[in-house]
């Protein structure tokens, strides 16, 4: 019993971790390149969830059509990201980080109320896509197929993201923009387009993770503020701006949470913030990041 239980606890932690990674990777990406902490990332995630629900209602109210709805939600949130970046964010790049923080906070307030206005305050729920409803037995532990899917998708996106950033022409430009914006600008590369592209991709990831979370969580007002705090912690632990750092940060957070409730049940809240503070004090750039 003990071994299979520990294994299922480990897998549970991993699922949590991969969900967090999907969300936090976008946050980390925007921070790494634009040096902006985007409080509204959680709001994008929430919009993704609501739009996925809306998509399912439109495409196939009985619950199928989940994949189309998720893609629709992710793209719609990505498009919103483009609008936000082009219309507002652009003019804040040169300004003090205080204004950028407050701008993203303004988005949190506005998008939160917009979602409330559009979808009301009812809790909404989306069924698991039929193909992934079952579960399998691994080492005596029951593992839901949908969780397995997320656990595989996480590393795939991490690896894909790493490939694009480190092995492609676009990635080289992005990394260059991260290091020295002015120089790249002077060399004739279109930094503005790169920034827009990264912001859209980050929003897309937020929307996608919001959509993908709907089969296993209820959609309720306030989910934006809940998730952003967790995503922050993950990004801080792993290292702001580091893609693999965020990945490992998620794994640490997920497993600490999963096993933490066994060791000290009253745990979580305090320890998680304390861990965040300790890491900021000892290694502000995170466990896997590099100093700025």
């Amino acid at each position: 019993m003990a071994a299979s239980f520990l294994f299922s606890q480990f897998m549970g932690g991993l699922t949590t971790a991969m969900f967090l990674f999907l969300i936090a990777s976008g946050l980390s990406l925007v921070f790494g390149i634009m040096r902006v902490i985007n409080f509204a990332h959680g709001s994008f995630y929430m919009l993704g969830a609501y739009l996925a629900w809306q998509g399912v209602q439109w495409f196939h109210p009985t619950g199928a059509g989940f994949w189309a709805a998720s893609l629709f939600a992710a793209c719609a949130v990505g498009a919103l990201g483009a609008v936000v970046e082009r219309l507002f964010f652009r003019s804040l790049y040169g300004r003090d980080e205080l204004y950028q923080l407050l701008f993203t906070y303004a988005l949190v307030l506005i998008l939160g109320d917009a979602a409330k206005y559009l979808w009301g305050t009812d809790q909404l729920s989306v069924s698991t896509p039929p193909i992934l409803t079952g579960s399998v037995q691994i080492f005596g532990a029951t593992e839901p197929l949908y969780n397995l899917f997320i656990t595989v998708l996480g590393p795939l996106i991490a690896f894909g993201g790493w490939l694009v950033l480190n092995r492609s022409g676009v990635g080289r430009l992005v990394r260059a923009a991260q290091m020295d914006r002015e120089m790249l600008d002077a060399l004739g590369a279109n930094v503005g387009t790169i920034y827009t592209g990264m912001f859209v991709f980050s929003s897309f990831l937020a929307g996608l993770s919001g959509a993908l979370v709907t089969p296993i969580q209820s959609i309720v007002p306030g989910m934006d503020v809940l998730i952003i705090v967790q995503a922050f912690i993950v990004v801080v632990i792993g290292g702001m701006g580091s893609f693999w750092g965020t990945f490992w940060g998620s794994v640490i957070y997920g497993e600490v949470l999963s096993f933490g409730i066994l060791i000290f049940p009253g745990f979580s809240l305090f320890s998680v913030f304390a861990l965040m503070a300790v890491i900021l004090i000892v290694r502000p750039w995170g466990l896997f990041g590099r100093p700025l």
Binding site: R35, E97, I110, L280
Partner: protein, 350 residues
């Protein structure tokens, strides 16, 4: 504070010589000789007699928010430190005062300074770590510390009351006022309001002295150019830490008053979004001006009560106000007026 030792500091001369570039507060016409702060103070004191119960309630909220926002501005506007967790010190002050007065029946005259001291101690410890970090990391660590305080307040049921908070904090004892004409007949809540106004006026006067002192000028120099400040021999981190502790202390005092005013202390006082709110207040008024945060506090409390009468979508309006501020009037209300005034003067000269 440390002003005695810094008068000979080279940084002071540099800072003093730097042009402020502001119109408000300079000038020498008749209007500037009228003691406006005294008048505002007297108006504030008269509210219980002329304004009624609700206006007293609003005025007290504005006064406490004003002190809280001014204490934040000591970091934000004066020293250039973006703290996203200032509410932690407000919360520590509120809890220290609340716990002492409710659980241990300590009189206000001891509980009030104790709350400032408690907040100062926590600011000293957390600030020590925070000021070593730059910019965004500083903001993140202040946020982390404030969330730690929130988690403690939320979970430590036996002491803080947890999610149910600490209601029924007693008013200070005003029996000694009973035989004073005018004041003796007032309701306890009005007597407490007057005490609040006096304490806040004194606090604001002290902060004003600090900002205008040589110590304050060094802080401004650090804000404008930390490298230069370090180059001319200023211990930048030490000064930042001092500012952090002073700001934390006054935030704690504001928190103590707020706990009594709102008849209870709750964990939500310490949640991170409250830090954002006080920051919005500060910027709305204008963080480049000493009187900016109080005006921001006034404007926000007033807008809140006007708008919530008509709609439940107050956060939406707050977000919209913030957008307008960031893209239209980054200098806040006073910055906008300042600009307008300057333009008018230029037009008059031409």
């Amino acid at each position: 504070m440390t002003s005695e030792t810094t008068t000979t500091d080279p940084a002071v001369a540099a800072a003093a010589a730097a042009p402020t570039g502001r119109v408000i507060g300079t000038g020498s016409s008749l209007v500037s000789r009228i003691p406006w702060t005294l008048i505002v103070f007297l108006i504030a004191c008269s509210v219980p007699w002329v304004g009624g119960r609700y206006n007293t309630f609003l005025a007290e909220q504005i006064a406490i928010d004003a002190l809280f926002a001014v204490s934040l501005n000591l970091l934000l506007g004066t020293t250039g430190l973006v703290s996203f967790g200032h509410v932690a010190y407000f919360g520590v002050g509120a809890y220290v005062c609340g716990i002492l007065m409710k659980t241990y029946s300590v009189p206000f005259i001891i509980a009030f300074p104790a709350s400032g001291l408690g907040a100062a101690l926590f600011a000293l410890v957390s600030g020590y770590f925070c000021v070593r970090l730059i910019k965004l990391y500083f903001a993140m660590l202040t946020l982390a510390f404030s969330q730690i305080i929130w988690a403690i307040a939320y979970k430590w049921n036996d002491v803080t009351g947890g999610d149910q908070g600490l209601p029924e904090i007693p008013f200070p004892n005003f029996d000694w006022l009973n035989h004073v004409p005018w004041l003796g007949d007032l309701k306890t809540s009005d007597q407490f309001y007057l005490l609040t106004v006096v304490l806040i006026a004194v606090s604001l006067a002290i902060i004003h002295r600090i900002v205008r002192s040589p110590f304050g000028r060094v802080l401004t120099t650090i804000r404008d150019n930390p490298e230069r400040a370090a180059f001319i021999g200023v211990n930048v981190k030490l000064y930042q830490l001092a500012a952090f502790v002073v700001a934390g202390t006054f935030a704690g005092l504001a928190g103590a008053l707020y706990g009594i005013f709102s008849r209870g202390v709750f964990a939500d006082y310490v949640f991170w979004s409250k830090s954002a709110e006080v920051m919005i207040m500060t910027i709305l008024g204008g963080m480049n001006y000493f009187w900016g945060p109080p005006i921001g506090a006034f404007a926000l409390v007033w807008l809140n009560q006007e708008i919530t009468d008509y709609t439940q979508y107050w956060p939406f309006f707050l977000g919209a106000i913030l957008l307008l501020l960031l893209f239209g009037f980054p200098g806040g209300i006073l910055g906008g007026i300042d600009q307008l005034w300057r333009r008018l003067r230029r037009a008059r000269r031409a």
